[in-house]
Symmetry: C2
Subunit: 210 residues, 2 copies
DNA sequence: CCGTAGCAAGCAAGTGCTTGGTAGGATCAC
DNA sequence: GTGATCCTACCAAGCACTTGCTTGCTACGG
C-alpha cells in the first residue's frame, strides 16, 4: 500500500513525531503502564484516543510496535544520561549519588516507560524483537557495578561489600519506586532521591571517613 | 453441579490438600510466576499437568480461583510469621533484621506466590474477590512502619528518617529480589539476608552508637 | 454403585489485525 | 482561480484465531 516513492518523506515525518502519533503513544503508554501490556486491548487504546481500533493501524504496525517505540525512547535517553554522569563525575561516590538522582528524574519524565520496562521486560524479552531489553539491563548493570567497584578500590565504599548484590540492592530500591512514586505528589523526585542517597551511602560508605 | 450434600466432605478434602489438587496448584503457580497470570492459559496449565484444559474445572471453579488459593496460602503464612517475629523480638533493631530474614525465607518457601503477589497484585486488586491483597499490603506496611517508628523513638534509628519512605525502601529492596533470587543458587537466603541487613542497618542506625 | 478424575467436543466472548472505502485539507499544473 | 491529484487520518465491517469455561460422557478403584 505504501509506495517506495513515499518511504523517505514518511520516515522523516515519523522521526519528527508527527503530533498525532506522539499523542497516541502517550495514551497507549499510560494504559500499558497502569493495566499491563497484555491486559490492554487495542480497542481500549483506540477508545481512549476517540477513534476506532482499526484506525490505530494507520499509525502503527502492531500493538508490539507501540510498546517498542515507547521503550526505545526511554532507554536511548537513559543510556545517554548515564554516559554523561560518568563523564562528569570521576568520583565514585558523587557518581552513584548522581546516578540515583538521574534515575528519579527519569521516572519524572518517562513514568510510563519506566513502569512498562519494569513490569513487562520479562514477558517481552522472550520475543526476538525485544532482545534489546535484556541488553539494556545488562548495560545498566555494568555501568553501576563499575562505579561501585571503582569506589571500593578508592576506599570510598566498604571493602566487604558484595558489589553485584549492592547493585541489585540499589537498582531494586530506586527503580521499583516508580510503582508508588507520584510525579505530581508531595514528595518531589529530588526529595526522594536525596533521602535514598542518604540512606544508601551512609550504609555502604567507610564508617571511619570524615 | 456440586450438591449441598457434598459440600462438607469436599471442603474437608480441599483443606487437606488432596494430593492432585496441590500438584495442580504448584504447576499453575510456577506458570503464573514465570509467565504472568494473564499470559498463562488454562490450556498451558493443563498441558503441563498432562491433562486436558476442561479437566482442570473438576478441581477448580476458575483460573482466578487457582491464583486466589495460591496467594491466600502465602499471605496467611506470612502474616503469622510477622506476628511471631514481633512477639519474639521487642527490640526494634533485631525485629527489623528478623523481618528481613523471614522475608527471604518466605521467598525460599513460596517463590511463586511471592512473585505472583509482586507482579499481579495491581491487576488482580481491581476485582472485588482480590480486595484482600490491598488489605494485606496495608497490614504489612503497618507492621514494618510501627517497628521503624518504635526504633526511632528508642534511639536505634536516625531521627531524621522518613519512616514511610524508609519502609518502602526496605520493602522494595527485599521483596523485589524474588525476581532474581534463586533458592537453589550459590547465594543462600541467609547470606543475602545478612548482607541486606548489614547494608540497611548501618545506613539507618544512629552513627554514634556501639 | 458411587465418587473421583479425566476426556471429547464445543460455545460465546473477545483478541489483534486486515480490508476497502471516504472526508477533507494541501499541492500543483493549467 | 480551479479542477485534478495526493495524502493523512479515520470509519465500518469482519476475519481468523484464542480465550476461559461448560456439557455430557466414561474409566475405574474402594
Amino acid at each position: 500500500m505504501v509506495s517506495a516513492k513515499n518511504a523517505s518523506p514518511r520516515a522523516a515525518t515519523r522521526e519528527a513525531g508527527s503530533g498525532r502519533r506522539a499523542e497516541l503513544l502517550a495514551i497507549a503508554g499510560e494504559l500499558f503502564a497502569s493495566r499491563g501490556f497484555l491486559a490492554t486491548t487495542v480497542r481500549e487504546i483506540a477508545d481512549a484516543a476517540g477513534i476506532l481500533s482499526g484506525s490505530l493501524y494507520h499509525h502503527f504496525d502492531s500493538k508490539e510496535s507501540m510498546v517498542d517505540e515507547i521503550l526505545r525512547d526511554f532507554l536511548d535517553h537513559q543510556r545517554a544520561i548515564n554516559d554523561e554522569v560518568l563523564r562528569a563525575h570521576p568520583d565514585a561516590r558523587t557518581a552513584i549519588a548522581e546516578l540515583i538522582r538521574q534515575s528519579f528524574r527519569a521516572m519524572h519524565r518517562y513514568p510510563h516507560a519506566v513502569a512498562i520496562f519494569q513490569n513487562e521486560s520479562k514477558y517481552l524479552a522472550q520475543f526476538d524483537r525485544f532482545e534489546y531489553l535484556s541488553r539494556a539491563a545488562a548495560e545498566f548493570e555494568r555501568t553501576w557495578t563499575r562505579v561501585l567497584r571503582d569506589g571500593q578500590r578508592a576506599g570510598a565504599f566498604r571493602g566487604d561489600l558484595n558489589v553485584k548484590l549492592a547493585y541489585r540492592f540499589i537498582r531494586d530500591t530506586v527503580w521499583t519506586s516508580v510503582h508508588w512514586y507520584n510525579p505530581r505528589g508531595r514528595l518531589t523526585a529530588n526529595v526522594v532521591a536525596e533521602q535514598y542517597v542518604a540512606i544508601f551511602c551512609d550504609g555502604i560508605s567507610e564508617p571511619d571517613r570524615a
